[in-house]
């Protein structure tokens, strides 16, 4: 105790012995830290008031849904391409969720939490090409999204749907999406037949009519990009371009931005649409917001490898 007292005394004496300039510098530095401390703490408090929403804006996954008859491996090539082109050297980690026949969820892969934009692929074992299946899948997607959110706590996300995957997203956004829980930034549909196989815009299918009727429920600040493939001026080999373009009846004037675009050239047929060089560019620029090193090279590589895969899908 006596030693401590002596030390305290020594300390006080040492401070007294400090030259005037030293004392001023010391006092200023301590005052600076104190002011920073008070203001910083106040700033932290206001920052964390609405933190649950803001904080999780850090992770903004991109969620992919494949079309009918396609598996959760459907986007593997696309993801490889996007990762290989990523300038930041921080690849997008990939999580895959499969919805089984009985509604249970099977997870594979993992999300690296430091990734700002990881990829999540949601596939459905029940993936027939009809409206009741799309409705059932969109309902299941609601469960998947809740489960994903409870696991990874994100709020913002972007979505990509290939073919009927775009229909599942549309049905989900109209019927199961809640802006209280989520904030969807962008929906990109690739060769999505909003009017199924109908080529005439005057003949609207039940699904299209339902979508148009429910379009008021779509998030108002959503950006939608509808991409059609053109193999022979009328269709992409599977889906009629006109059916894709009927998306305008659902989204136009209902969401913040609706853009239709048609791609042609390499890999513009329905099945290969996700690997089309223009589509890869669009995903990178509109969703990932970064430009790759040399997209042309990579898409050529994709083209070379394109003969190895599955069956056509809708």
């Amino acid at each position: 105790m006596n030693k401590l007292k002596a030390l305290m005394k020594k300390t006080v004496t040492s401070i007294h012995r400090l030259p005037k300039s030293g004392k001023v510098a010391l006092i200023l530095a301590i005052a600076f830290v104190a002011v920073l401390g008070i203001l910083g703490r106040m700033w932290m408090l206001t920052e964390h008031q609405n933190d649950r929403a803001i904080q999780k804006a850090r992770m903004e996954p991109v969620i992919f849904i494949p079309g009918s008859s396609a598996t959760i491996r459907r986007f593997d090539d696309l993801i490889d391409t996007l990762n290989s082109q990523d300038k930041s050297n921080d690849n997008h980690s990939v999580l895959k969720v499969q919805v089984e026949k009985d509604g249970s969820l099977t997870y594979s892969g993992h999300l690296t939490k430091s990734n700002r934009q990881p990829f999540i692929v949601v596939g459905f074992v029940n993936n027939d090409d009809n409206y009741p299946t799309i409705q059932a899948d969109s309902q299941a997607l609601g469960r998947v999204m809740s489960d994903l959110q409870s696991k990874y706590h994100f709020r913002n996300f972007s979505s990509i749907g290939h073919s009927n995957g775009g229909l599942i997203w549309t049905d989900y956004l109209e019927n199961y999406y809640s802006s209280q829980s989520f904030h969807i930034r962008t929906l990109m549909t690739l060769g999505t037949p909003f009017n199924f196989n109908e080529s005439s815009t005057t003949k609207k299918t039940t699904m299209l009519n339902d979508f148009i009727e429910g379009s008021d429920n779509l998030p108002k600040d959503l950006n939608v990009y509808s991409v059609a493939g053109s193999d022979d001026y009328t269709d992409d080999g599977t889906v009629n371009v006109q059916s894709v373009l009927t998306g305008k009846y659902i989204f136009q004037k209902k969401v913040a931005k609706y853009t239709q675009t048609t791609v042609s050239g390499d890999n513009a047929s329905h099945y290969w649409l996700p690997e089309n060089p223009e589509v890869v560019n669009l995903i990178r620029e509109l969703i990932l917001q970064n430009k790759g090193k040399n997209p042309r090279n990579n898409t050529n590589k994709l083209k070379d490898e394109s003969n190895k895969n599955d069956r056509p899908e809708n």
């Binding site: 030390l7 400090l18 649950r52």
Partner: protein, 407 residues
């Protein structure tokens, strides 16, 4: 017993510092202090005032526009770090060779080896520098290579009995071989030695236990004193660690949720063991400020503000801290005390750990106050750690016969 080991340690430190290579290296460090001070304050100015995500723009609600010159200044200040090392190596070479060759009775112009070693040190920067200034600067690599180059120069001079011309073919060939070998080595440096962030490694659950943190608290000062860069995951408020992310997720699920990893590198090491830099160096700076010796006190005053913002570089060169057995001990003790004390309070539930993300350049002394859910208790713990680190450093500074000697 304690007194005896303490005395022995001080003697060992003094004996070590009297070795010619060490003595001349420390002298070179000290000669560079003015440049180091400029370098450190320039870094501080950039990170406090011009970084858009920094604490000062955040708390004063200043919205800085993107400044095109900012990246350029970052680049230049990072390059400045390497330039300082290159100057140290040049000065060291000059004085070491001068005295070493005198021992053998040779008179030589040291300009060529000085230039070669300057280039050797600078090319380390060229080989490892990354634009985002995330690369590690392991000064020990440059010191070791410079020393080997100096030994080979002395060896060549002795072999030829000092008869070769200072800038003759043989010495030029020697210089070319040294630079060639060094370039070859630099080009094969493993990525592990270039990167300064090991988020995957420190994300392991081992570092969420007291023993993992204790090990890191002991190893970090050893690395620092040996001249290795301490990983950024421990020295900066690293939000990339999986334990930190899991904790944050838990808090955002339920405000006072039980955290999965209460003790982790962010909540313990960064918050307590790295106050003012590795080894709770802020404690040392305070001790120096309170010294009677004018020069030591002046060094402490210069180092005070940077140390508040967790840079102990001025002391590393000016005291010096590099390669000092005597200073390694209090650094480890302060680091270990901060770690054990903070972990104990966190695990006992008296304080909630540092969990939230903070603006860049937030001083570690304020980290727990800002980012813990028990700010005042956490601040109290931090201040106790600081006070104890002052008490730990005090006798070592008193016993140190080297600090301030060359100023």
């Amino acid at each position: 017993m304690f007194q005896r080991s303490f005395k022995k340690l001080a003697e060992l430190d003094l004996t070590f510092s009297k070795l010619l290579p060490v003595n001349t290296l420390f002298a070179a460090f000290k000669k560079m202090v003015p440049l180091v001070i400029i370098n450190v304050y320039l870094h501080l100015f950039l990170k406090l005032f011009l970084d858009r995500s920094a604490l000062i723009p955040a708390v004063f609600h200043i919205k800085l526009r993107p400044m095109p010159f900012y990246q350029g200044m970052l680049f230049l200040t990072a390059a400045f770090d390497y330039l300082v090392i290159a100057f140290v190596m040049a000065l060291w070479t000059k004085s070491y060779l001068n005295r070493k060759l005198q021992v053998y009775g040779y008179q030589k112009d040291e300009l060529l080896p000085v230039l070669i070693n300057f280039a050797l040190a600078l090319s380390y920067g060229f080989a490892t520098y990354s634009y985002a200034s995330q690369s590690a600067i392991h000064i020990i690599i440059v010191i070791a290579l410079t020393y080997l180059a100096n030994l080979s120069f002395v060896g060549l001079t002795r072999l030829t009995k000092g008869k070769l011309a200072d800038f003759g073919f043989a010495y030029l060939l020697w210089g070319a071989i040294v630079l060639g070998l060094v370039s070859l080595l630099y080009s094969h440096l493993p990525k592990l030695l270039i990167s300064n962030s090991y988020a995957d490694f420190f994300s392991q659950t081992f570092f969420a236990h007291w023993y993992g943190l204790l090990l890191a608290a002991i190893v970090a000062p050893i690395l620092f004193v040996l001249g290795f860069a301490v990983p950024m995951d421990l020295t900066a408020a690293s939000m990339d660690l999986s334990q930190v992310n899991s904790n944050m997720n838990a808090v955002y699920q339920a405000v006072m949720a039980q955290l999965p990893y209460p003790a982790n590198p962010y909540s313990v090491l960064t918050t307590a063991a790295m106050l003012g830099g590795t080894g709770a160096a802020l404690g040392l700076v305070i001790v120096l400020v309170l010294q009677q010796n004018k020069k030591t006190r002046r060094l402490g005053l210069f180092a005070f503000l940077p140390a508040i913002f967790d840079s102990s570089k001025i002391l590393a060169y000016g005291y010096p801290l590099f390669l000092r057995p005597l200073m390694l001990v209090p650094m480890i003790l302060a680091s270990v005390f901060g770690t054990v004390f903070t972990t104990w309070f966190i695990l006992a539930g008296w304080v909630r750990p540092t969990v939230f993300a903070v603006p860049n350049s937030t001083p570690h002394i304020l980290l727990s106050f800002f980012a813990s859910q028990t700010p005042y208790r956490s601040l109290a713990v931090t201040l106790i750690v600081l006070l104890v680190s002052v008490l730990i450093y005090w006798p070592f500074v008193k016993a140190d016969k080297l600090g301030g000697q060359y100023e």
